[in-house]
Symmetry: C2
Subunit: 235 residues, 2 copies
Amino acid sequence: MSIQGIFPIDKWNFKSESILTDLPAADFEQLMVHKSEHVLKKGEILFREGAYPSGIYYIVEGKVKKYKTDKTGREQIIYVANTGELLGYHAILSQYRYPDSAATLEESRIAFIPKEDFLLTLQQSSILNNRLLKTLSHEFSVLANSITLLAQKPVRERLALQLIVLREKYKVNFEEGEAVEINISRDDLASLVGTARENVVRVLTEFKEEGMLKTKGRKIFISDVKKLIVLANAG
Amino acid sequence: MSIQGIFPIDKWNFKSESILTDLPAADFEQLMVHKSEHVLKKGEILFREGAYPSGIYYIVEGKVKKYKTDKTGREQIIYVANTGELLGYHAILSQYRYPDSAATLEESRIAFIPKEDFLLTLQQSSILNNRLLKTLSHEFSVLANSITLLAQKPVRERLALQLIVLREKYKVNFEEGEAVEINISRDDLASLVGTARENVVRVLTEFKEEGMLKTKGRKIFISDVKKLIVLANAG
DNA sequence: AGGGAAAAGTAATTTATATCAATTTTTTAA
DNA sequence: TTAAAAAATTGATATAAATTACTTTTCCCT
């Protein structure tokens, strides 16, 4: 079953795909003049919080976590970006530094676009301008939702919700009724949910017993997303 | 003592003041053609989450909380906006609805600018465009910081941090060495910190005993912000 | 100014979550 | 292929925070 109509997925996803989709050819070409494409292995870092930006990144294929690291090395995942999404524009637009770090969650193909080309295209394209304003404003609402989630919901509900969102991102060649395979480390899942790894494992075991999912090694197979939606209880 | 150099206040404040400051006269006038100014009493609502936007708001004088309300009526404060800040542009730029509600925390003078004037000025002013992009990107980093704070820090540290931030907002005619008076309800403070009112009261009592602040009725007087900064421990 | 309502404060208790300590399983790389 | 390392899992315990129940104080409003 599709999630449309029974879960407000837009509340939890950025829409940075829509920044480049069907951009006027002239703008698109100018943006891509000096783009370079690279394959990054799982766990490789695109950019680090605090660094000055040199360009933006486009996920041709793969998944990237955006996260912050505190003094003690503890990570907080802010967002999981998927194929088609754009990264790194916040730092350039704010004229400051990267507010977070970005690292691949799986082997990914990443295109790099130099800062100069991005800024030049931005100067000349009101469409790109408008799309960035629209995307950034939408991101505001997504992060506001995350704040409310973390401040007010217990771990069980937060984990249920993040599994629903991850399931959408991990869908490939999805067929009605099939289980979706989510391949993510327990540490990353814990960091996304805002709890300790052990709690994630415990609640996953409960969800298994309650028939919403199965696991095989680190892989999680979501078999009953409707039950998760009821549990997540997030309008 | 000033907080500059010993606390990274920019990590926790939006910079929407800078959107209108010294905007070219032509742009500014166009924006203000149909503006109307109103005095709102404490607790009055500017706009509600989920409503379609009719314009933007400028805080001529006063303080406004941005918050989300869940099904049960529980509030989560996302941000406290101060004199000079702009509100309500996210909904218009995202071409959707207000992502949060806004209500005054004290009697405030609020200017309303109709959506049409805002959009028209935006079309014609690349400076306004750039400033909005810059502000929205910075807001992203502020909300990412809030997420990390809520997910990883205990109530004591969160409260210490929010008191430091509120102190900056409540400074008026501040003289070196003076205590700053923060006038906010315990419920709002709890909602900002992401905890129950009772916990706020308890920790405030501890802070009083430890000499960082005094209270008089609902008013909180921050007398030793340096101690709070040490406690908040937030690079 | 006084009475009533709302807000603030206190204490005891329960519950959720974090932490600590191990063991088992999976993955990686020689 | 297998040994070593890394990751996942389990259980016990400690700690932080939420909840409940109540008292006291403050602040409006007539």
